[in-house]
């Protein structure tokens, strides 16, 4: 094919317009920030911004894992319940360890490891049932959504499970502390996002996740271990939930049946707002991060102002979500 065969104009995807559209969620976030600053100049204060990012860290970290699951063509509805179960088990384990290991770091580290292990195992369970059992991920995780939370409710007898006060004091800095002025959860969030970005875009595993989501048959023909890769996405997500939870526990020092309620919706929404297709195949971590921050920012702005009835908060959130999606629609296929 010679040069003369190339099309008359480059396809629209590469045009300026498409590039701008790809930035949709970011533009949405910036617009929102401008509006927020106009409404309340405290919005831009350092402490408010760190508050926002710290809050975004929990669902944000989970959403990074969720991005992989969704790109591969799956879904996980159970993450909120999983977080609650991990938080509860972790606290019970740490409380039980105090007599043996004391209330210092050794107890906490064991607790953290347990959080990761439980998350990973829950993910492994999902992955195996979904792939080997060939059941829709929606159904499996809808089931475990009920199961995980019920087990936590059982463990807490409906009330809350509180962390030993002294352990809590030692553990506190993991949420409240900061390094070079940046709160620890933000650091961890950044780290997880960067790692997620590298894994998704620069490793074989990430490539295979995208290939599987795009066309499972093709992936299988390319001799990719489809089942293994899929299981790994759920394990990865489970680990992310574990990380989010171990940051979360020192925040309130307790777990209750309402811990992590609706986090799944928030995490999935962050992923989709960020420009990942629900049908899988392609997506991007930075979009997910922006999506997570955006969702928290909407809430924050609503708390900072008084202009509309409290009853309508959810309506404003809904409108903003749709508007942001509208901005980036040019980017959709």
């Amino acid at each position: 094919m010679s040069v003369s065969d190339t099309p008359l104009t480059p396809p629209a995807r590469h045009s300026l317009l498409a590039r701008v559209a790809a930035l949709g969620p970011l533009l949405g976030l910036l617009t929102l920030m401008v509006v927020a600053t106009l409404l309340n100049s405290d919005f831009l204060s350092f402490s408010n911004l760190t508050n926002i990012l710290t809050r975004a860290a929990f669902t944000g970290i989970i959403a990074v894992g969720m991005t992989f699951v969704i790109i591969s063509g799956g879904i996980d509805l159970s993450v909120g319940s999983m977080a609650a179960l991990i938080a509860g088990s972790m606290i019970l384990i740490m409380n039980a360890l105090v007599p043996h290991l004391g209330n210092g770091w050794s107890t906490i580290v064991v607790g953290m490891v347990c959080a990761l292990v439980i998350g990973g195992l829950a993910g492994l369970f999902h992955g195996v049932i979904i792939t080997r059992g060939r059941i829709e991920p929606f159904i499996v995780t809808l089931g475990t959504l009920g199961i995980f939370r019920a087990v936590l409710t059982y463990l807490s007898q409906g009330g809350s499970i509180s962390l030993d006060q002294d352990v809590g004091d030692h553990y506190g800095p993991v949420y409240y502390g900061s390094l070079l002025g940046v709160p620890v959860p933000i650091l961890v969030f950044t780290l997880v996002a960067l790692l997620g970005g590298v894994i998704l875009n620069r490793t074989r595993y990430g490539r295979y996740v995208q290939a599987i989501g795009s066309n499972e048959q093709v992936a299988r023909y390319a001799a990719i271990n489809v089942i293994g890769v899929k299981i790994a996405t759920y394990v990865l997500l489970g680990l992310c939930v574990g990380v989010a939870t171990l940051l979360y526990v020192p925040r309130l020092g307790s777990a209750s049946p309402s811990t992590g309620l609706l986090w799944e919706l928030e995490a999935i929404a962050a992923v989709i707002i960020g420009g990942t297709a629900l049908k899988g195949g392609h997506g991007r971590i930075w979009g997910t991060v922006v999506g997570a921050v955006l969702l928290v920012t909407i809430e924050n702005v609503l708390n900072l102002t008084n202009i509309i009835s409290v009853y309508l908060n959810a309506a404003v959130q809904g409108v903003v979500i749709i508007l942001v999606a509208f901005f980036q629609r040019g980017n959709r296929r």
């Binding site: 008359l8 074989r204 490539r207 066309n215």
Partner: protein, 523 residues
């Protein structure tokens, strides 16, 4: 025919690289391959011929490790091999280019080419990948940005990526399942040249094609299958194209192209100044009742996009469209269908058929109102399918299978049968014989002429020049989005058309379109 030496003995010759021995294959109750035995020599280009559904792709998938034979053996250098996956076959140096694309549409060209074989250590070496992809594409003489997403590519471009993917695997045995079905002259030439070079590098090539001219040109030996059985093997040099066709079909084929009847003088479709942004400018033409009008051009010349625009599938502008003299506005495919204009897409799998749906539901998709009174009548749909299978000679084990399980050529026939169901006045066929065997091609050609004689106007877009020349009353040539030639009569010869197709000759200064009525004058 009787002089053909039948070499399909069950004992493989020592020089043979690949041996098939008594291969049987059945899908459920459907027997697809029966007692097949023959051999392929080291370093040859071995063509595999057969009608649609003869079992060529199935046999090659067995060799490529995608299927296991129900019984029988595959020998490699005399030793029996059992591939459990395509990865196994690849390790033995065997790579298959699929007839249907196997590309992850969301990934880029380079990512697809290297899928499962990414270079680099812990992190993928993207630059090496792009470089490598560019190199393979260059070997194919393809100018394609390896960073583009496959989703945005045209059918021929996807085919080229599929080929490049296989080439990048450094195969010792390369299986090509109808690689040229979607390619135009130039890419085909480049590919055939490349096959020659690969052969001189010692690569053994198994080559499936329904384009017998190509087979004649590149193949060393030819094996013919029919109904899943082995028929014959011979040196390509010993066989004429007609003989090949006869072997495939099992009887003498009559004249490929029917006599052309004289079209009426009234225009059924008139299009003035059709532009599709980015693809075509000010295309104007007319088709007469009873006329078969061909569209020739290279990949990217804008033929497909022009007609997708015309029937409302793409954004377009047009000064006027008349159907049977009456001006019409077409903003959607439904509008087009209402005025009796239908378009058969070149992309069978992506835009033509619902591969997960049963045959009958594919057949009746555009004409469901005929079967709704007001509830659908599945029995009537089934009857229609039985009729269409007979009329269009669609070969399927049973009629209740899904469209995806038909062989490539039979899928094409089903797609064609569907648009005829609508009984349109103007029929636009984009690559109607893609992947269709000679016998069926002939049937399609005759069908096209029957349609023309029945008073319809037929537009044929094709990349096979011979087909256009044999079939059409008149030929329009597009180049870079513009009509550059309106050829008929004497001008309808290969040399002349190629000059226009490649842009070396043009009837009018660029940008000035050919008036529809001017056909006679220029001829």
């Amino acid at each position: 025919m009787q002089r053909l030496p039948v070499t399909g003995s069950s004992v493989a010759e020592a020089t043979e690289l690949i041996g098939f021995q008594n291969i049987y294959k059945a899908f459920g109750a459907v027997e697809v391959l029966r007692d097949l035995s023959f051999g392929v020599r080291h370093g040859e280009i071995h063509a595999l011929l057969g009608e649609n559904g003869a079992g060529k792709s199935t046999l090659m998938k067995i060799l490529g490790g995608y299927h296991a034979p129900s019984s029988g053996q595959v020998l490699l250098e005399g030793r029996e091999v059992h591939f459990r996956s395509s990865r196994d076959a690849e390790q033995a140096g065997i790579v298959l280019i699929h007839q249907e694309f196997n590309l992850a549409e969301d990934l880029t060209v380079a990512q697809n080419i290297y899928l499962g074989h990414e270079p680099g250590g812990a992190l993928i070496d993207d630059r090496a990948m792009l470089r490598g992809a560019r190199e393979v594409l260059a070997r194919l003489k393809v100018d394609l940005d390896p960073a583009r997403r496959v989703r945005d590519l045209s059918v021929p471009q996807k085919q080229l990526v599929e080929i490049a993917k296989a080439l990048s695997r450094q195969a010792q045995i390369l299986i090509m399942d109808e690689p040229t079905a979607t390619l135009t002259l130039r890419e085909t030439d480049a590919l055939l040249d490349l096959m020659g070079r690969l052969k001189s590098d010692g690569v053994t090539i198994l080559y499936i094609s329904h384009k017998l001219g190509e087979v004649k040109r590149v193949a060393d030996r030819v094996t013919v299958l029919r109904d899943g059985r082995y028929i014959a093997t011979d040196d390509a040099a010993n066989l004429t194209q007609d003989q090949m066709a006869t072997l495939m079909v099992g009887r003498e084929l009559e004249e490929m192209f029917p006599e052309q009847a004289v079209p009426a003088s009234d225009l059924l479709l008139e299009v003035e100044q059709l532009s599709v942004p980015g693809w075509a400018q000010r295309v104007s033409f007319g088709v007469r009742r009873g006329e078969v009008l061909g569209f020739a051009g290279l990949v990217g010349s804008g033929r497909t996009e022009s007609f997708e625009g015309l029937v409302g599938l793409r954004r377009h502008t047009v000064t006027s469209v008349r159907v049977a003299g009456r001006p019409v506005r077409i903003r959607s495919p439904q509008d087009a269908a209402r005025v009796g204009l239908t378009y058969l897409s070149e992309d069978r799998k992506g835009k033509g058929l619902l591969v997960d749906f049963p045959l009958a539901q594919n057949l009746t998709l555009t004409t469901l109102d005929l079967y709704a009174h007001p509830l659908l009548d599945p029995a009537a749909e089934h009857r229609a399918m039985v009729r269409a299978a007979r009329d269009s000679n669609i070969r399927a084990g049973r009629l209740d299978v899904t469209a995806g399980s038909l062989s490539g050529g039979n899928q094409q026939k089903l797609a064609l049968a569907r648009i005829l169901e609508a009984d349109p006045r103007v029929i636009v066929l984009d690559e109607p014989t893609r992947g269709v065997d000679v016998g069926a091609k002939r049937e399609i050609y005759h069908l096209i002429h029957q349609l023309a004689q029945a008073g319809k106007a037929v537009v044929v877009i094709s990349s096979e020049l011979n087909e256009l020349l044999g079939l059409c009353h008149r030929l329009l040539v597009m180049h870079e989005g513009q009509l550059v030639g309106d050829l008929s009569g004497e001008q309808l010869n290969e040399q002349e058309v190629i000059l226009y197709v490649t842009g070396l000759k043009s009837q009018c200064p660029a940008g000035v379109s050919v008036r529809p009525g001017a056909a006679g004058a220029s001829g």
